[in-house]
Assembly symmetry: C2
Homo-oligomer: 309 residues x 2
């Protein structure tokens, strides 16, 4: 396996090379470090292509970087693989990792394989940012914006798990299997954001995370429901609002910002091909609420539950 | 679990804080990144204290840094834990991580828990070094030195697995359960080393790794056998040379250096409480050999086999 992997590692240009256990480079500024673990039995639905598993493991870590406004430099991948796994499966996982490497222009600078009953991909990402944005920096009166509509990945996962492989829902399944981290959007938004987080744990839970860190309240005035999700939900007897609030593995950014910077933020996001949907505002008092039928109601801390559990 | 873990993370002094998904800091020089994964079913023998599991996961990653000559700055820990694991067990693992944090003066700057059937600790370590030492830099004529005797961890593991818990072997068991990464030795040796590697995969396999990276040969003229390992092996009908060559989870450094720097290297290592045992020299031709009964014989690529497999 190492014979397969080592020649495929990027050379970071430092003193250490692929084949060494580490990698080195000379940063140009502040370094941001983050990581994410993908576990086969809980994060990969039956039938998901192995390439998607590698892609998603890298995307999830880079999305955490994006949410701080950092530009990714390198990822380091540690794999736990069942002893009975075929080399071909490893190659397909690795090919997904390389697809992500090329898409995000990041180095895959180190790797490591271990024997593990449950397949596990632990990805560690390192990036650079002048002023990393924390998730707890919101101020009362800030607007809450998101970089896209919600619920697509949750609907796509539902379609995969229920084996409703109708062609109409292909785009939703793709949203789940091939999500894209908002790197450029994170970098430009970081100049205006008071706080930022990615929505990988779902909209509601991510807002609760912001609330725990800021001690403030997050009031949703308009749910960023996706039209296709609404159609999917209606066809399948699901509650679209639940998919939007409680779905997960969606890599939009949630940004809080001063209302005076709305126009500039919107323009800058548009310049990197990304919309800004204002969904509410930051208020005093810890919690997450939404305006529903004219009343303010508390949002349950719905969140990403690993499927099947 | 996060309520338990987040307040226990170190604050790196940057823009991000515990509770954010990442950590940031301003490096003073060249950054070295490495990582290691510890898997419960293959790396932890029955009866090992949970504290030792956390300690070893951090030590293994820091030993990889030490082998480049880097001084550790921070570690990032991603855990996969079985859903049925008690909070008390997590606390004991974490307490081992904190013992290592204090021993090595490193920040535990990020953490993450996931559900996984096999307990897994993925540790990433970040350090700084002026000139990181690669494992493939040896030159023909270099001497091969090691920072201690070998076989202690292998004998200790044998004693644990065979439940020979005789008090005489307590120190050997401690070598396995509470190994120490050679941070200071790595930093001082990096000024003289042409190549360096830690011996975590065992002496033979580590030399083969050096050989693969340098294209040179490694000739062992004197095996660094530990006296206590010899006694243990005699008592238990084991081959001490096999424990020395094929044992693993030993965190000595293997250093190659120009013979002219031997005295200085020895003095500098002594100044950080570490010995230098010269075991052989680097020769032309790829491979690993030893002098045995006056003849040169090839060393089998014995190495660390995960126990029970």
């Amino acid at each position: 396996m190492l014979d397969y992997l080592i020649p495929r590692l990027s050379f970071a240009g430092g003193h250490l090379r692929p084949g060494d256990d580490g990698v080195d480079y000379l940063p140009r500024g502040r370094v941001v470090v983050t990581g994410d673990m993908l576990v086969g039995s809980t994060d990969v639905p039956p039938g998901a292509p192995m390439e998607s598993v590698g892609w998603k493991a890298v995307t999830a870590s880079l999305s955490d970087l994006a949410a701080t406004g950092a530009r990714p430099v390198l990822v380091f991948v540690e794999m736990g693989l069942p002893p009975e796994m075929e080399l071909d499966e490893l190659k397909r996982i690795w090919s997904g990792i390389e697809m992500a490497r090329d898409r995000y222009s990041v180095m895959v600078a180190g790797g490591d394989t271990n024997s593990c009953r449950d397949p596990v991909l632990a990805v560690f990402a390192l990036g650079e940012a002048e002023r990393p944005v924390p998730r707890g920096g919101s101020r009362p009166g800030d607007l809450i914006g998101v970089t896209g509509t919600f619920g697509r990945a949750a609907a796509g996962l539902h379609s995969i798990l229920t084996r409703d492989l109708d062609h109409s829902w292909e785009a939703l399944r793709r949203s789940f299997l091939w999500p894209v981290a908002r790197i450029e959007a994170g970098a430009v938004a970081s100049r205006y954001a008071t706080a930022m987080i990615d929505s990988s744990d779902g909209l509601a839970r991510s807002l609760y995370d912001m609330s725990r860190n800021s001690g403030l309240g997050y009031l949703i005035e308009r749910l960023p429901v996706d039209d296709e999700v609404t159609r999917y939900a209606l066809t399948h007897g699901l509650d679209p609002e639940r998919l939007v609030l409680g779905g997960g593995e969606e890599y939009e950014l949630i940004i809080t910002f001063d209302p005076s910077s709305e126009r500039q933020l919107r323009e800058e996001l548009a310049s990197v091909g990304c919309e800004l949907i204002v969904i509410g505002r930051v208020v005093e008092g810890r919690g997450v609420w939404r305006v529903q039928d004219g009343a303010v109601v508390q949002v349950p801390e719905l969140g990403w539950s690993h499927f099947g559990r």
